[in-house]
Symmetry: none
DNA sequence: AATGAATGAGAGTTCATTCAT
DNA sequence: CATGAATGAACTCTCATTCAT
C-alpha cells in the first residue's frame, strides 16, 4: 500500500505476544479501532452509529462506552489510530538516493483499481478530513498528519538539493504541492470513481515536477516518465 | 469569487423581476436552497438536520417537506443548485488568449484569508464530495461537475496548443492534473486551515506546469511566476 | 347486490337531471362521498387521510374542507350516505308472499366470490361499525341502520304470522337473530376470506330457522333447502 | 369470562414466581401486551399510538421499540397474545356430555351488561378482525383463530352425533353457523350497544338449532329454552 | 368554487448514553 | 469486563387544518 496505510482489519496484527492483562486491554482497543474502521467504511461518517461499530465488534454497544466515554472520544482515538497507521509507514524506504525516494513516495499514492482496501482507507481519511472543519480536535490531529507528510517529502527534496541532485527549490513549498496534488487526485479517484486518477497525477508530477527538479547536466533516469 | 461559486445568501440575485406567482414559487425554492447552504456550512453535512435548515429559513419546517418529499430529495436538489451556481461562472472569461485564460482559471481557485464566503463554499463542496462515496445520486451529479471542470481547462489547453502557444501535451490529462491539484490544495486550505495553500499551489503550477507548457522560443510572460 | 348496497362509484347515479346550481352542489357532494368510499375501501379506516380522499376526487384537499369543516364532519356525512344507500334498497321486494320475501331478504346477504364490489362494500360497513364504539355519532347513525334492518325482517315475519304462514314467534327476536347471524357470516367472509360463509349461513338459516317457522301442515316449499 | 378471554390487565397473573432474569423479560413482554390491550380498548385501533401504549406502560416509549422494532411488530405480537389468551380457554369444559358442552360453549358468548371487561375484550377482537382486511399477517393469525373456534364446536357436534345425541348433520357447517352467529350478535352488542343481543342469540340458537339437533325420541332437556 | 402554500401538533423511530447486574 | 434494559432527546416525516388569492 501507499503512504497512507491499509490497516483496518489488520488492526489486531502485530504484538499478539503474550496473554498479559496489558495485552488484553491493547487487543480490545485495537479490536474497537478495527471495528470502527470497518463500520466507518461501510456506513460513512455521517451515518455512523455506535451500533454500527458494535456490529463490527463481536461485543456489545455498552462495552464501547465502557472503554470510551462518548462517541466523540472513540472517534478521536480513532483519528489517532488512523494517523498512526499511516505514520508508521511514512518513514519506510528502500533506498537512500533522493530521486528514487521521491519517486517511491509519489508512487505510494497510486491506487490500482483492484486495491479495494486502500481505496476504502483513502475514503476513510477523506471523511475524517472533512469533519476537521467542524471539530477542532480532529483538525489538530490531522494538521499534524499533513505537516508530517509534507515534511517527509520536503526532507527528500532537501537531501536531494544538498546532494546536488535537485535544483535549489524551496523544499517545503514543493513538498506541499506534491503532497496536496496527490491527495487531490486520490480524493477524486476514490470519491467520484475516477479510475487511475492517482496514476495520471503521478505521471504528471514525474513529467512536470520531478523532471524539472533535476539539475540540468544529469541524465533523466527511468523513474521519470 | 473563484471558479466554484460564492452563492448561498446571494441566492435571490438575478431575475428580481416582479411579484408574480412564478417568482413566488421560484423564490421559495431559492430561499430553501440558500437556507440549506447556510445550514450546511454551519453544522456540516453529518450533523445537518431539517430543523437546522428550517432555522435558516423564515418558514416552518413542514414547508420544507411540502416542497421536497424527503431530506434526501432536498439535498439532491441542493447538489444540483451548488453545481449550477459554479457552472454558471465556469465559462466566464475576460480574454481569449490561452495563456491568460489558463492563468485566470487557476487564479480563481486562490482563496484569500479574508474571503470567508468562498472558504465556506469550498467546505460545502468538499462535504458533498465525500458523501458521493455512499450516495450514487450525489456521485453522478458531482462526476458531471468534475468532468465539466476538467473539460474547461482542457479546452483552454487545446486552444493554446492549436494556437502554437502550448506544447503538444494531452489537454485532458494535464487539465485533470491542474484541476485536481488545485482542488487538493483548496481542500487542504479550507479543512485544515492551511493558510495560502491555494496561492502556493497556483504558484507551483505556474512554475512547474505552465512554464513548461510554453513553447521554447516564446518569452515567459508575466503570468508565470 | 344484496341488502347492503354496492354504491360507491355509482355515487353520481340518480338525479343527474339538469345543470342547476343546486345540482352542481349535489354532484360535488356525491362526488366526495364516492371518493370517500373508494378511499376507505383502498386504505381502510385507520389509514384513511384527507389526501387519500382527495386523490380519489379530482379536486384538491382544500376543497374537501370547503365543503366539510373537519374530517369528522365528512365521515359523519359519509356514514349517512352509506346508510342511505343501503336503506334505499331495503324496501325493494319482488313479491308480497312472506316466505319468498324472507328467503329473498336472506339471499341478499349472500356474496359470491366474483362480487368484489359487494365484498368491498361490506368491508366498509364493517369498518364503520367498529368505529361506532369510539364515536357516539357514528353509533347513533348505525344503530338506526341496524334497527331498520331488524325491523324489515320483523315485518316480514309479522306478516307471515298474521297470514298463518309462520308460527307465532316473536318477530323482533327472530328477526334480529336472522339479521345479526347473516351479518356475522358476512363479516367472517369479507374480513377473513372465508369463501361462501354467507351462502352457508343462508342455508343454515333456511334449514334451521325458516323450516321451523313454517306451520306444521304446510308443505315445505322449494325456498327452504 | 366466555370463550374469548378477558385477559388484558390480568396479564401478569399466573406464574408470579421469583425475580429471575427469565421472569423479568417475560414480565416486560406481558406488561407491554397488557398496556397495548388497555390502550387499544381506550383509543381504538385507528387512533392507537405508541404513546398511548407507553402511557399504559410504566416504562418509556423507547422501551417499546427496544422490544419490538416497529409498531406493526408489536401489534402482530399482540394479535398472537389475544388469540393465545382466548385459545387457552377454548378447550376448558366442565362436562363430557355433548349437549351440556354445546350449551356451555354457546353460553360463554353471552355478555351481561355488567361485564365491562368482557365487553371491552370483544371490542378489541372486533377491531383487530377488521384490520385483517388490510393486513395479511393479521388475517392469517385470525383465520387460524376462527378455524380453531369452529373446530371446537364441530368437535362437540361430532361427538354428539357419534353418541347418538345429535342428528347426523355436517358438524363443520353447523359449527361454523353457530360460531359466526354468536360472534355476529356479540359484535352487534358491543359496537352498537345492543343490550342482551348475545343472550337473545343464545336463546335463538337453543330454540332453533339445538332443539332441532336432538334426535326425536329424546326428551328436550332444561338446557334448551 | 377552488387552489397552493403554509403551519403546528404529533406520529413512529433512532440513538448516544446510563445503569444494575 | 461485559451485558441487556432502559431512557430522553431529537430526528424525519405526516396530516388535518387554515388562509390568501
Amino acid at each position: 500500500m501507499g503512504t497512507e496505510g491499509d490497516a483496518g482489519n489488520s488492526a489486531s496484527e502485530g504484538d499478539t505476544g503474550s496473554g498479559t492483562a496489558t495485552d488484553a486491554a491493547g487487543d480490545t482497543h485495537e479490536a474497537i479501532m478495527g471495528a470502527t474502521y470497518r463500520a466507518l467504511c461501510e456506513h460513512g461518517y455521517a451515518d455512523l452509529t455506535m451500533q454500527d461499530i458494535a456490529d463490527e465488534f463481536d461485543k456489545s454497544r455498552s462495552l464501547l462506552h465502557y472503554h470510551y466515554d462518548t462517541k466523540e472520544d472513540l472517534l478521536l482515538a480513532f483519528v489517532d489510530q488512523m494517523v498512526g497507521w499511516i505514520g508508521d509507514r511514512l518513514a519506510e524506504t528502500e533506498t537512500d538516493e533522493p530521486l528514487p525516494r521521491l519517486a517511491e513516495y509519489v508512487d505510494r499514492f497510486v491506487i490500482e483499481p483492484d486495491e479495494s482496501d486502500r481505496q476504502t482507507f483513502a475514503v476513510a481519511i477523506a471523511e475524517l478530513r472533512v469533519q476537521a472543519v467542524h471539530h477542532p480536535q480532529f483538525r489538530e490531529k490531522l494538521q499534524a498528519h499533513y505537516e508530517r507528510n509534507v515534511e517527509t517529502v520536503a526532507d527528500i527534496l532537501a537531501d536531494g538539493i544538498e546532494a546536488g541532485v535537485f535544483r535549489d527549490v524551496d523544499p517545503e513549498r514543493v513538498g506541499e504541492a506534491i503532497y496536496t496534488a496527490m491527495v487531490g487526485a486520490r480524493t477524486y479517484q476514490v470519491t467520484l470513481g475516477a479510475a487511475d486518477a492517482t496514476r495520471r497525477m503521478r505521471d504528471a508530477i514525474a513529467e512536470f515536477v520531478i523532471r524539472e527538479l533535476l539539475v540540468a547536466d544529469r541524465d533523466v533516469p527511468e523513474y521519470v516518465g
